[in-house]
């Protein structure tokens, strides 16, 4: 297999399930364990693979009552480095779990996690809104998660096939 295609297939597989062993991945991709191990090493080093984490449905974790909010941020870009400088100042906060520059009616989409609504509201009013270049914010709280990162959380169809057919 061509290396570029091999990489595409490999990242698809481990994005879906990073618990698979190098041997299993090698069998699935019809290549050697050495080749897979080397590729993974390479992808970790060049920053393509940014880490390995489980996909958690936090609603099912007892005692965890994390609140998530999505904030639309409008800003005036600065002369030098445009949006990047503003982004840097936003993503440094540990409360910010994702940050994207958007097309359309606002500039940044910011995802924030906190222990409760108040904490998030305070974070927005104390840290985001007062920033020099910020023109406006609109905060939306997540009420229920149906699907995240390709995984459906609610009402998953079970395997209702009989054991033998």
């Amino acid at each position: 297999m061509e290396k570029e295609i091999l990489i595409q297939e490999l990242v698809k597989i481990i994005h879906k399930n990073c618990k698979l062993s190098v041997e299993e991945i090698a069998t699935m991709l019809n290549t050697t364990t050495v080749a897979v191990a080397e590729l993974i090493d390479e992808l970790e080093k060049d920053g393509t693979i940014k880490g390995y984490g489980a996909k958690i449905n936090w609603d099912n974790v007892k005692g965890s009552n994390t609140v998530t909010a999505y904030i639309e941020l409008k800003v005036t870009p600065q002369m030098t480095n445009g949006f990047d400088r503003i982004a840097e100042r936003i993503y440094q906060f540990p409360q910010v779990t994702s940050l994207n520059l958007m097309s359309g009616s606002y500039d940044f989409g910011v995802t924030i996690e906190g222990d409760n609504l108040k904490e998030i509201s305070l974070f927005v009013s104390q840290h985001l809104a007062p920033m020099e270049s910020v023109i406006s914010t609109a905060t939306h709280f997540v009420l229920k998660r149906y699907k995240n990162d390709g995984v459906i959380y609610a009402g998953l169809p079970e395997d209702d096939r009989e054991a033998i057919s």
């Binding site: 597989i13 399930n17 698979l20 299993e24 069998t27 699935m28 991709l29 019809n30 169809p157 395997d159 096939r161 009989e162 054991a163 033998i164 057919s165």
Partner: protein
């Protein structure tokens, strides 16, 4: 009144139930069974196809269709057969839409078989051919295919089985349960034997899209085979649409016309809802097939390696979604193996002899399961064979 049993058709009474069914009943009584027993995709029908089905209901498309199926669907089928397999069928006279590939098989056999006619059935193969031939008053003649030929039908085996009474050859490739396929050169040899005869071919190509090395070749593509071949196929396996019950047959105008007559009286028309969804599948479903095929292919490698590593030799299946490892090294028969495996490890697989005598010594393991499930089952099977060896 007499005992009801005496009033039932003798052939029906005497035909044994499917060997799959026996294990089905056993497994159904147990909890937490890890299964590699299922002959249908684990995927749910792709959403865009389901959505068209739903929309068709919303629009009130709840009536019968024409007997042979919605014309638009037959036109799409005609395009599809040409696009994928380079065989051309006239949508108006050479294609019929049926209730699953199953009905297409039944229609064909009832349409062509006279009492006493012989029908050649390469085995191991899907369980329905023989009973249907029996019900039609025909004689099913099994041909034992061999693991050393990767369960392909050879010209020699075919020649041996032909008699003056031979009416039909059933060609069940890609094969359930072995995963064997027929390459173009294998089909050329079969065609060479058939060319001088009046033998018809029923080519069950329901797994054609699930071929993992090269493209599937239909026997209808081979010189002199087109006129005598009826291809049956369906939406169950390639689009993960088993529950919609939709299939089709393509072939000679006269045969399709007569099959449509039988269908008209027995069935009227295939499910309308499913026909609308199938149009969408054929128009926009090629990518879905590619994604599922790729996923099966990966699982195929995992399961085949798993069996070979634990010492159950397993030839490489090139089609469908089954592995067919040999369990003779355990000293158990297929049924003993499956029953003991189910009892001691709660893993369900299907004994090879359910698909014909020549499947004895093998088990059918479906890989229409997640890699995690496959690995769990493989580990349990490995524990089991360590115990019995």
């Amino acid at each position: 009144m007499r005992d009801i049993k005496e009033l039932i058709n003798k052939t029906v009474i005497e035909t044994p139930p499917s060997g799959i069914r026996k294990f089905f009943d056993l497994a159904a009584e147990m909890d937490d069974v890890v299964s590699l027993g299922v002959g249908e995709p684990d995927f749910v029908t792709p959403w865009h196809i389901r959505e068209v089905g739903i929309t068709s209901l919303e629009k009130g498309k709840t009536h019968y269709t024409s007997n042979a199926g919605i014309k638009e669907l037959r036109v799409e089928l005609s395009k599809y057969m040409k696009r994928r397999f380079k065989v051309e069928y006239d949508p108006l006279s050479e294609i019929i839409v049926t209730v699953g590939g199953s009905e297409a098989i039944d229609l064909f056999i009832r349409t062509v078989v006279n009492p006493g006619d012989e029908v050649l059935v390469p085995e191991p193969s899907f369980v329905c051919y023989k009973p249907i031939v029996n019900f039609a008053g025909g004689m099913a003649v099994p041909i034992e295919t061999k693991v050393e030929n990767e369960f392909r039908l050879t010209a020699e085996e075919l020649k041996q089985a032909i008699t003056p009474k031979t009416k039909v050859l059933i060609l069940p490739y890609p094969n359930n349960p072995t995963g064997g396929i027929m390459r173009r050169e294998d089909l050329e040899e079969i065609a060479e034997v058939l060319r001088g005869t009046d033998i018809l071919v029923l080519s069950d190509e329901i797994y054609a899209e699930l071929t993992y090395e090269g493209q599937h070749v239909s026997i209808a593509e081979i010189d002199g085979m087109y006129e005598r071949t009826v291809i049956v196929s369906g939406f169950s396996k390639c689009y993960a649409m088993t529950g919609w019950r939709l299939g089709y047959a393509c072939g000679n105008k006269e045969i399709i016309r007569m099959m449509t007559k039988v269908h008209q009286f027995a069935i009227m028309s295939a499910p309308t809802l499913a026909q609308h969804a199938a149009i969408e599948a054929l128009r926009n479903g090629d990518d879905d097939i590619a994604v599922m095929r790729e996923e099966y292919d990966r699982r195929r490698r995992v399961i085949v390696k798993g069996f070979n590593d634990m010492g159950l030799t397993c030839f490489e299946p090139k089609g469908a979604f089954y592995a067919f490892p040999c369990i003779k090294s355990t000293g158990l028969t297929s049924e003993e193996f499956c029953e003991q495996l189910l009892m001691s490890e709660k893993v369900a697989v299907v004994p090879g002899n359910a698909f014909g005598e020549s499947g004895e010594g093998f088990i059918r393991c479906s890989y229409a399961y997640s890699v995690e499930d496959i690995n769990r089952a493989l580990k349990a099977i490995e524990r089991f064979i360590k115990k019995v060896k």
